[in-house]
Amino acid sequence: MKKPDSLQGTLDLLVLKILSRRPRTHGYGIMAAARDCSDDLLRVEEGSLYPALYRMEEAGWIRAEWIKKDTGRRARVYELTAAGKKQLGIEESRWQSASAAINQVLRTV
């Protein structure tokens, strides 16, 4: 597992947070949620979202399941695992301290 760089950390945080609010969401749903909740300010690229999902699945933070939608099409939905919930806590506090640190820098310099 690579070191979490800040960008990746952010994406993970977003995805985990969205999944904690709306369990059993598919990839597109996560993307849409990120956009909607941030009033179109944040965009998650498809090209990063899916690898991130697989990576987190591999890490055991989220688990996936195929469901059949009303349209008849199969969709893969994700939800948090216990480890994922813990990870979300870690990511959140890391974000808090990082953003606090950056804010402090912006204020003082």
Partner: protein, 881 residues
């Protein structure tokens, strides 16, 4: 995602790709539903370029990278193996044969020599033996002890170790009903304390205990092995309390041992355990019949224990020697001076082990040699193949393959080869090892070994695969991956000479091993020949042997009457009676003194016979007369030529007397020499005495067991008639065994036949492999040098020159190999000397034979190559290039 699911993902790669693709499709559909333009959505996902990459990164995350590569390597390796079908088949078959032989040999050796007994603390089990030197200075070993000596030793070291007495397993007659329903079973006398010491539990009833070691003759209890209980009684739980008659004694069956324990005699499975106290010789100081096992406590040092035991044993023998005088005394001093040895016996201890330990060891070396030959062969084949593939390798390197990847790829291919060969070989071993066991069967004591295919064999197989891979796989893989792309792609081989040198070295090694295998098998075949062609001095054809027992014993005249009854059976020519047949292995010897002198230093062998014995055996009577009905023992004797030479200096023995113990005999006849107990020994002095044994008062003694020798007029099936005729002639008599004298003669050479057959088989395999290897290398070097030869022919070289050019180095290698092999053979022959008979390892014929065979094989495998070289047409050749 667990490791397992990743492994699973690697295996089902395609399904995974499909799943990812489906998820992407579902994503796009969702986007379209939300009102996005499908094309735009696709572009966002980067369908053409991005998706592929994305799927692949996604995919790589969901599998273990190297595992996927391994899968690819296996598929590719399989394709390579299939592409070179002939080479692969040859490689797999030759490796399979060699590996199978190795696994088979391992199974045999493991079952007989190494596998720990299924008891607790087998690793702490030792056995005592004595090593002394006989009068000729040759070492003699004995593992047998007199029971009183054993019990002294046991009591003395009680605090350090537990001593357990076990007799060898004996195949014998016993009955669960009347005397008419006798049957055979393997019986072993053991210390009562054995079961507890070995941590054995009863499946039923009770086992023997220390209390059964108290008083001689008063513990008539028997314990059955689980295997026997199952086979003979179908696990009948009512067996406890039933009685069994063996000899004069009636035993009560007290229980059944749980588990696979069948005694301490590998090769014989004990059916019934009896307390050592019930053995008829248990109180005798002069009869050695028990083996002494030592179960040491985990903190006991061996050497002090050995010294304590040695002192007790020595004191015992010294006490015993007090009554001896003369030659007996000199002989006995040797026994007193014997060294006591304590050796690991976790695998049990049996005479079969002693008999076959060396032979199996040699067999192991031979199969290892065949394996080395096969490995050298496959390495050469692979190396030649990699020459063909050097362009492919160069291309791979040129587009960025690392050397590690190339080596992995080639190793995977080779490993597949080795595993396939091992599987085939395992199959071969599974079939062949029991076959070898049936070959060492003797008629009256079936050899039974637990030949299980368990983790020990499995582990050996896996180890073998790694060894083999190391031997044939690594070098060619390294060699092939060290390709220099520039020169290889330009069309030339990078360094043909180094590769060819390596291949030539392998050829020399192969020939050396091959020489050794052929040399050894030559020795064994000669040994078998000289033993089986040895003049017997009697005629074994059409001679039936009936071992007859009488319960209770009957006086000799009754036995004579039965012989008379047999004489009138149609087809019977002659009938005689003897204590036991010649060459049955049974023997009775003692010191004799001639003309009232002191006993001679050489022992004389004795055999009790009836009148007409020498005629029935067709042993010529050279002087004097045969026994008459009135002759008795002591009283009259017939001696052989060797006896006359030893004791009467070759002078006429008739009328002379000799003394064995307190018995006096007068020589009335002289017969020609014949082997006594076994074929290998030199002819021994034999005194034949009448089986009419009388005591000091001249009263005839009852006999319980004799052998009837029946010479028949042809090979008509008289066996069953005779078997019935004896109990009909007289109640209480019963045939316990029916053999033929020819069978006993053949049984003398069972081990030699086995070694000769297997060694001959392996030398055939070795030759075949060597021929294939030689052909392969010759063919390869011809291919490499075709261009050169074309030019040579174009500028006027003759075919003979070309042939010489193409093959001279190989022949040099064959010579080198043969010389090395001969040297190895001369050095190693002393390790097999004990197994040889009538042949010397230094015999030049034995050394030149294999050399000639190898040369012939080399020529034979060179012929097609020379033929091809002679057909090289320079015009076509040079134009093609």
């Amino acid at each position: 995602m667990s490791l397992w699911s990743r492994v699973a993902n690697a295996v089902r790669g395609e399904q995974l790709s499909r799943e990812i693709a489906e998820e992407m499709e579902s994503h796009i559909a969702e986007a379209v539903e939300q009102g996005r333009d499908p094309d735009e959505a696709r572009r966002a996902l980067g369908y053409n370029y991005q998706l592929r990459q994305q799927t692949e990164t996604s995919y790589e995350i969901r599998t273990v990278g190297w595992l996927e590569l391994l899968r690819a390597d296996i598929l590719f390796g399989w394709r390579q193996l299939k592409r070179n079908q002939v080479t692969s088949t040859v490689a797999i078959l030759s490796l399979a044969l060699a590996m199978g032989a190795c696994i088979g040999a391992f199974r045999l050796m493991d079952a007989l020599l190494w596998r720990p007994l299924p008891v607790a603390n087998a690793e702490r089990l030792y056995a005592l033996s004595r090593e002394a030197f006989d009068l000729q200075g040759k070492p003699i070993r004995s593992e047998m002890w007199a029971y009183p000596s054993f019990s002294l030793m046991r009591d003395a070291v009680k605090d350090q170790a537990e001593l357990i007495a076990v007799s060898p397993a004996i195949r014998t007659d016993l009955t669960y009903g009347s005397g008419q329903d006798m049957e055979k079973a393997n019986v072993q006398y053991v210390s009562g304390s054995m079961f507890q010491a070995f941590g054995l539990q009863p499946a039923l009833g009770r086992l023997l205990a220390e209390n059964d070691d108290r008083t001689p003759g008063s513990h008539p209890y028997a314990v059955l092995s689980y295997d026997y209980w199952t086979q003979r009684f179908g696990q009948d739980p009512r067996i406890v309390g039933r009685t069994m008659r063996y000899g004069k004694e009636l035993y009560e069956i007290t229980g059944v041992v749980n588990g696979p324990f069948t005694g301490t005699d590998p090769g014989t499975m004990t059916d019934i355990f009896l307390p050592a106290m019930m053995h008829p010789l248990v109180t005798r100081s002069d009869a050695s019949w028990v083996r002494t096992l030592v179960l040491i406590q985990s903190d006991t040092a061996l050497e002090p224990l050995r010294q304590r035991l040695s002192a007790i044993s020595r004191a015992f023998e010294q006490e015993r020697a007090k009554g001896f005088t003369g030659a007996d005394k000199i002989f006995f001093q040797k026994i007193i001076d014997a060294t006591l040895l304590i050796e690991p016996a976790g695998a049990g201890i049996s005479s079969l082990q002693d008999e076959y330990r060396n032979a199996l060891g040699i067999l192991g070396v031979l199969v290892a040699m065949v394996l080395l030959i096969a490995c050298a062969n496959v390495a050469n084949l692979k190396m030649a193949q990699s020459a063909m593939r050097s362009r492919e390798m160069a291309l791979r390197v040129a587009i960025g393959a690392g050397r590690g990847r190339l080596v992995q790829m080639l190793l995977v291919e080779n490993a597949m080869l080795a595993v396939l060969a091992a599987c085939l070989g395992g199959l071969f071993a599974w079939r062949s090892a029991p076959l070898v066991v049936t070959m060492i069967q003797s008629y009256d004591s079936p050899v039974r070994l637990l030949l299980s295919m368990d983790w020990r064999v499995g582990g050996f197989g896996v180890g073998l695969v790694f060894c083999v891979l190391l031997l044939f796989g690594v070098l060619p893989a390294l060699r092939a991956s060290a390709v220099k792309p520039v020169s290889a792609l330009k069309g030339g081989d990078d360094d043909p000479h180094s590769r060819r040198r390596l291949m030539h070295g392998m050829i020399a090694a192969q020939v050396a091993f091959c020489f050794l295998v052929i040399f050894m098998s030559g020795l064994f075949v000669r040994t078998f020949e000289s033993l089986s062609n040895k003049p017997l001095g009697f005629s074994p054809e059409n001679l039936l042997l009936l071992d007859v027992v009488a319960q209770p014993g009957q006086p000799p005249v009754v036995w004579d009457q039965i012989a008379d009854n047999l004489r009138i059976v149609p087809g019977v020519e002659r009938v005689a009676i003897a204590g036991w047949p010649l060459l049955s292995g049974a023997e009775w010897n003692n010191f004799v003194s001639v003309a009232g002198g002191t006993p001679s230093p050489m022992v004389t062998y004795l055999l009790a016979i009836s009148p007409g014995w020498s005629e029935t055996m067709k042993i010529p009577l050279l002087g004097g007369r045969d026994f008459r009905p009135g002759d008795t023992a002591p009283g009259q004797a017939i001696v052989n030529q060797s006896f006359v030479k030893t004791f009467f200096g070759g002078k006429n023995p008739l009328g002379k007397t000799f003394q064995e113990r307190e018995n006096h005999y007068q020589v009335v006849g002289l017969v020609a020499d014949a082997p006594y107990a076994n074929l290998r020994d030199a002819i021994v002095p034999v005194a034949y005495i009448p089986f009419h044994e009388v005591n000091a008062q001249g009263v005839a003694q009852p006999e319980t067991q004799e052998t009837f020798l029946v010479r028949t007029s042809g090979s008509n099936p008289l066996a069953s008639v005779l078997r019935q005729a004896i109990p009909q002639a007289r109640a209480g008599f019963r045939v316990s065994d029916l053999r033929t004298q020819s069978y006993l003669v053949r049984a003398q050479t069972v081990r030699e036949r086995l070694l000769a057959m297997l060694a001959a088989f392996f030398s055939f395999v070795a030759l075949l492999l060597a021929a294939i290897g030689l052909y392969g290398v010759l063919n390869y070097s011809l291919q490499q040098r075709e261009r050169e030869f074309g030019i040579r022919i174009a500028v006027g070289a003759r075919i003979a020159d070309i042939a010489w050019q193409a093959t001279s180095r190989i022949f040099l290698m064959v010579m080198t190999g043969a010389v090395i092999g001969a040297a190895l053979g001369i050095v190693s022959v002393r390790y097999v000397e004990t197994l040889l008979y009538g042949v010397k390892g230094s015999d030049p014929v034995m050394l030149t034979g294999p050399a000639l065979v190898l040369l012939a094989i080399a020529l034979l495998s060179a012929l097609p190559v020379i033929a091809r070289a002679s057909r090289i047409d320079p015009k076509i050749m040079l134009r093609a290039q």
